[in-house]
């Protein structure tokens, strides 16, 4: 492990496990190791009780019935179960699904797999602000459409889709709605008693819980039918077999209990930090905000610094852990599919930075981050021929560039 770690402003990748969460987890790793499925003795009974209490904490955060919560290993598994499980169950009724081009790979890849199995998928464009147009969604729904899958809070640009309106539209056409809420729990209010959502995927580790545990919400009224994807001992109403990891489940429960209590305080602080980051960085000039600022969680800021390449920017920023919009570690240096879907030029998509704050972010972290980013941007623009041309008044976009190598 590294000796000294940079300031952490990458809460969109994962959040630290809240120390209060760790504390409630540990006993279930030590003396209280029973299997929650052991119903013949007290070791099992106490574990079962802890699991059920955690289940109601998760249910409470989203206004659901505990019986609507199925434990999984995380959002990716929840998404796989929701999409493959409903597609397989209902395939006699139709074989068409709809999603957005800006979804997380867990949804996109799962739907590509369903395409290979003979399903048809429409990948909808979004508006330049990252939100889906209801008219476009309505137009995409066909008589054989089974399900729509929507990312509630986008992981890269933090925009919040209007799932209430989307859900109402889906109900109108008798189409199921799955919502990926991995980034949303504890950041936006969710009330299943009023939201027309049929399935919702959640994870613990983006809401101050441990990695490796998540849940799928499956509506009971009206009941949503799906087929299990992992078979075995028939745990979780037969929807997801496998011994329940008591300590992780207890951790997720506590994390979600705390999220409900602290969501408002977290939001107020995040909003102040977002304002400071914007104020401290946009005056560098030629800085673009990716995605709607209005319909966005305050914990997220995604900026493009024109005339600088993303990997170089990331390497030049010292002492702050951030994410880049381009998959800079890959050989292809492909710009982010999300920024591309917003209609951003490749160039702007390449030069983006995702700054995500959270519960343990301090004022000092923000001050350090602003200084570090400003330094890096100024230094790299001093090296950039494009910045030089821009300063001299050239229209860089309009120039003729030689073919790519």
């Amino acid at each position: 492990m590294a000796d000294s770690l940079p300031v952490y402003l990458d809460y969109g990748a994962t959040t630290p496990c809240d120390p209060r969460v760790v504390d409630v987890m540990v006993p279930w790793l030590r003396a209280h190791f029973g299997n929650p499925a052991s119903n013949t003795h007290a070791w099992g009974w106490e574990a079962r009780e802890a699991v059920e209490q955690a289940r109601s904490h998760v249910a409470t955060l989203i206004g659901a019935d505990p019986r609507e919560i199925v434990w999984t290993s995380g959002a990716t598994e929840s998404i796989n179960l929701a999409l493959k499980g409903t597609a397989e169950f209902h395939q006699a009724r139709g074989r068409h699904l709809i999603t957005l081009k800006t979804e997380h790979k867990a949804v996109l890849d799962t739907l590509h797999e369903l395409e290979r199995r003979g399903f048809e998928v429409t990948f909808l464009d979004v508006r330049p602000d990252g939100l889906v147009s209801l008219d476009a969604l309505r137009a995409a729904i066909r008589p054989d459409t089974l399900l729509v899958s929507i990312l509630l809070v986008n992981n890269e640009i933090g925009v919040i889709q209007d799932v209430a309106a989307i859900g109402a539209l889906c109900r109108e056409y008798g189409v199921l709605l799955h919502v990926d809420a991995a980034q949303a729990t504890g950041r936006v209010p969710i009330d299943m008693a009023h939201l027309p959502i049929d399935l919702m995927s959640m994870t613990a580790h983006k809401t101050y819980g441990p990695k490796g545990v998540g849940a799928l919400y499956v509506r009971r009224k009206p009941r949503v039918r799906l087929l299990a994807q992992i078979h075995g001992g028939g745990h979780e109403y037969g929807l997801r077999s496998g011994t329940l990891p008591t300590h992780q489940i207890v951790g997720m429960g506590e994390a979600y209990r705390l999220a409900r209590l602290e969501m408002q305080d977290d939001e107020v602080r995040a909003r102040a930090f977002q304002r400071q980051l914007l104020g401290g960085l946009t005056d560098l000039g030629e800085v673009f905000i990716n995605g709607s600022l209005e319909h966005r969680v305050p914990q997220n800021l995604n900026l493009s610094f024109k005339y600088i390449e993303g990997e170089a920017l990331m390497s030049a920023i010292h002492g702050v852990a951030l994410s880049s919009g381009s998959a800079c570690t890959s050989a292809s240096a492909e710009p982010s599919h999300v920024l591309r879907a917003l209609g951003r030029s490749d160039e702007l998509a390449h030069s983006s930075l995702r700054i995500t704050t959270g519960r343990f972010t301090t004022q000092e972290d923000i001050d350090n981050a602003i200084a570090a980013i400003r330094n890096a941007v100024t230094r790299l623009r001093g090296i950039s021929p494009l910045w030089e041309m821009h300063e001299r008044g050239a229209d860089v976009e309009a120039m003729q560039w030689s073919a790519a190598i």
């Binding site: 005339y307 600088i308 390449e309 993303g310 990997e311 170089a312 390497s315 030049a316 381009s326 800079c328 570690t329 890959s330 050989a331 240096a333 710009p335 030029s345 490749d346 160039e347 390449h350 001093g382 090296i383 950039s384 021929p385 494009l386 910045w387 030089e388 860089v396 976009e397 560039w401 030689s402 073919a403 790519a404 190598i405």
Partner: protein, 131 residues
């Protein structure tokens, strides 16, 4: 990303960043790459007419840290070279010196293209061609 110390040094402390007057007869200028692919290198050389050797080389680069480091290294190597010796720098030389990972080798190729283009630009100004 585990880059070599040489690469990191050139990226953190790039040599010969700057611009020469491209209209000057003794200056050869190259602009290669494109913003769309994420890499643009401007490389310039100035030739001492008496000696026929490069007495100044400078660059500006938009691109990954490897592209910036490779450009910086190239300008260092160009100093004091003849045009033929400049054009003889290969991408393998640059790749080796900076220990570029395979997925960044295209940066070295782009830099050698820039060197050749700068030499050609100078030669075009003087209507001379080497064999």
């Amino acid at each position: 990303m585990a880059y070599s110390p040489q690469l990191i040094d050139h990226f953190e402390h790039p040599r010969n960043v700057g611009s020469l007057d491209e209209r000057h007869g003794d200056v050869g200028t190259a602009l290669v790459g494109s913003p769309q692919v994420g890499e643009v290198i401007k490389l310039q050389i100035r030739i001492d007419p008496a000696a026929g050797l490069i007495d100044q080389a400078c660059f500006k680069a938009y691109g990954s840290s490897a592209a910036i480091a490779a450009s910086s290294l190239a300008t260092q190597w160009l100093h004091g070279r003849s045009l033929d010796a400049a054009a003889a720098i290969t991408h393998a030389d640059i790749t080796r010196e900076l220990a570029l990972p395979p997925e960044r080798m295209h940066c070295a190729i782009l830099v050698t293209q820039a060197i050749k283009a700068a030499v050609s630009d100078y030669q075009a100004k003087h209507n001379t061609r080497t064999a």
